[in-house]
Symmetry: C2
Subunit: 318 residues, 2 copies
C-alpha cells in the first residue's frame, strides 16, 4: 500500500512519514500527494498569525480544546521559526500542547522547511492536505512572525485569525496597517494587560475606516486571555460565524479558486527552479556565473537570460 492510501485509511504513522518526506522535499512525496489529492478538500483551515510574543501557541492550544469539545478532530501545523537555521528544532512552547498528546483526535506537527528549494507556503499547504486526507475536520496553521512568507501561508486558510497584544511598541502601527487586509477575525490577547482596550479600539477604528466591499465580511475585534481560557468560546463562535458567511454568501467559491491558483503556482515555481538547478548542474553553469560575477565580467541578469533561452523551448521576450 502507498503512504497516500494508508493516510486515507487514517494511518497516523503513514501521515507523519509523508509529512516528513514533504518537509525534506523528497521526490516520492509528489507522487503520494497526487494520489492524495482527490481525498482532500474536506477540512476547514484556520490560520493563526501575529507578531512574536502575542501568545499564539497558547491560543492554538485553547482553540484545539474548544474544537475537540465540539467533537471535531483537530490537526495543528506549526511553522517553526528556527527552521531556516537549525534544521528544525521543535519549539519549547509546543510542549504546552502535551495535554493533547494522548488524544487521538489531535495531530500536531511542527513544519521545519529547510532553505530555498521548497517554498514554505507550498509545503504548508501540502502538509495541511495530508491532515485533511487523514480525516482532520479542523486544521490550524500557526505561523510565527509577520513577514511576507507568513502572509502567503495564512492566505491558504479559510479563516485567518490575527492575534495582537497590547504594548508592542513602535512598529505596531505599521503591522496593523498590513494585517488589516488579511484578518477575518482579530484577537487582542493578554487582554488583562494595560492598553488592551486601546489596542482593540484602535483596531476597530482602522477596520471601520477601510472601504469594505458591500455585503462582505465584517471582521470583529475580540479580546482574550488565552492563558486563562478567557474569550476562547467567543472566538470559536466567531470563527464558525465566518465559516457560515463564506458558505452562505458563496464567497467560498472565489476563495477556493484563488487558493487553488496559488497552490498550483507555488508548485510550478518550485518545480521550475529545481529543473533549472538540474539543468545548470550538467555543465557547471552556476560556478561559471558566480566566478564571472566575482570579477564583474558577468552580470547576473544577462546570465539568467542565457540560461533561460537554453532551457526554454520558446524564446523569451527581451
Amino acid at each position: 500500500m502507498t503512504l497516500a492510501e494508508q493516510v486515507v485509511l487514517g494511518d497516523i504513522r503513514a501521515a507523519a512519514r509523508l509529512m516528513r518526506d514533504i518537509d525534506d522535499n523528497r521526490p516520492n512525496a509528489v507522487q503520494e500527494l497526487k494520489q492524495l489529492y482527490p481525498h482532500t478538500g474536506k477540512a476547514y483551515i484556520i490560520g493563526i498569525t501575529g507578531p512574536p510574543g502575542a501568545g499564539k501557541s497558547t491560543l492554538v492550544d485553547q482553540l484545539t480544546a474548544s474544537f475537540r469539545k465540539r467533537g471535531k478532530k483537530v490537526g495543528v501545523v506549526a511553522i517553526d521559526p528556527t527552521s531556516p537555521f537549525t534544521g528544525g528544532a521543535i519549539l519549547g512552547d509546543r510542549i504546552r500542547m502535551n495535554r493533547h498528546s494522548c488524544d487521538e483526535g489531535v495531530f500536531i506537527r511542527s513544519l521545519a522547511t529547510r532553505g530555498a528549494l521548497g517554498g514554505l507556503s507550498r509545503s504548508t499547504t501540502d502538509v495541511g492536505m495530508v491532515m485533511d486526507a487523514l480525516g482532520m475536520d479542523i486544521v490550524i496553521i500557526e505561523t510565527v512572525g509577520v513577514g511576507q512568507d507568513e502572509v502567503d501561508i495564512v492566505k491558504a486558510a479559510h479563516t485567518t485569525c490575527v492575534v495582537m497584544v497590547p504594548g508592542l511598541g513602535d512598529d505596531i502601527q505599521a503591522i496593523k496597517a498590513g494585517i488589516l487586509e488579511i484578518g477575518d477575525v482579530f484577537v487582542v490577547n493578554k487582554a488583562d494587560r494595560d492598553g488592551a482596550d486601546r489596542t482593540a479600539r484602535e483596531l476597530s477604528t482602522m477596520l471601520e475606516m477601510r472601504n469594505a466591499p458591500e455585503g462582505g465580511w465584517n471582521p470583529q475585534v475580540m479580546k482574550a486571555e488565552a492563558q486563562r481560557g478567557v474569550g476562547i468560546e467567543e472566538l470559536t463562535v466567531e470563527i464558525l460565524a465566518h465559516r457560515d458567511f463564506l458558505f452562505n454568501s458563496g464567497t467560498i467559491n472565489d476563495f477556493l479558486k484563488e487558493r487553488n491558483r496559488r497552490h498550483f503556482m507555488d508548485i510550478l515555481r518550485d518545480s521550475l527552479f529545481r529543473s533549472a538547478i538540474d539543468f545548470m548542474a550538467a555543465d557547471n553553469t552556476l560556478d561559471r556565473v558566480v566566478d564571472g560575477m566575482w570579477s564583474h565580467s558577468v552580470d547576473p541578469y544577462s546570465a539568467a537570460e542565457v540560461v533561460l533561452s537554453k532551457m526554454l523551448t520558446k524564446k523569451m521576450k527581451a
Copy 2:
C-alpha cells in the same frame, strides 16, 4: 543618457526612478541593472533585523548619524511591512529620519514590493546595488519581522545586526534560536527596561554554546538605548570590527561568492516564473488547471509537470 549612467554620475532623481522601476518590476529595470552592475561592489552593506517593537528604525536613524559623523555617505533601504497589502504606504516612523532629509549624504528609500512576482530579497539586493552605484559608502537594510523572507534579505548584508528587546514573551526563545545563526552583532535595545541584562546574558550564553568554527567571528551582545543615543558609538565600532574581520580573515571571499550565487538564483527563479506565466497565458492553461482542481479532476502536481514538459527543451526526470 540611460538611468544607469545618470546614477553612476550621482544623480539622485535618476536613482529614485530606477528604484521605483525595480519595485514595480518594470522590464526596463533589468536593462539598467545590467549597465549598473560593473559599477557596484563598493558599498558596505549592513542588515538590521529583529522582531517588531525592538526599535530598529530608531537604531537605524542613530547609526546613520554615526556613520555620517565619520564622513560616510549612507543609504537606507527600509522594507515596508505594509507592502503586500496596501501597495506601499510609507512607515509613520520613517518620519523620524526627517532630520537627515536635508543631508545630501543620506538617501532613504522604503521598498514596497508588491506581491509574488518579484522576490523581496532580489529587489532589495537590486535597490542596494543602485545605492552602491550612486556612491553610498554604507547601505543599511532594515527589515520588519522575523520570517524567512527577512532572513534571506539580511543574508545579502556584510554585517547583520540583530536587534532584540527585553520582555517580548513566549516566542522569544524560538526566535533567539533562529537568529543566532544570522547575527554578526547582537543588540539588546531599550536596555533601560527590566530584564535587559537577563536577555543579554541569555543571548551570550546561547552564543557561547554554539559550535563556532575555529578562527571564526565571535559575535558580541551589545546593549543600547537608541532613543537616547546610548550605545550607538560602541555598536558602530563593533560593526566596523566585523568588517575588518571579514577582510583580514579572507572570509569576505566566501561571503561574496555565496551572495552572488543567491542573487543570481533569485533572478533566475523570478525570470523562470515570469516565463511560465507568459507561457500559460497563451492558451489559458492557468484557468483550466484551476477549474480542474475545483472539481478535483486535476491535481496541481501533475498539471505542473505537464506545463514543465511543454516549456522545457530537456524533459524533466520524473
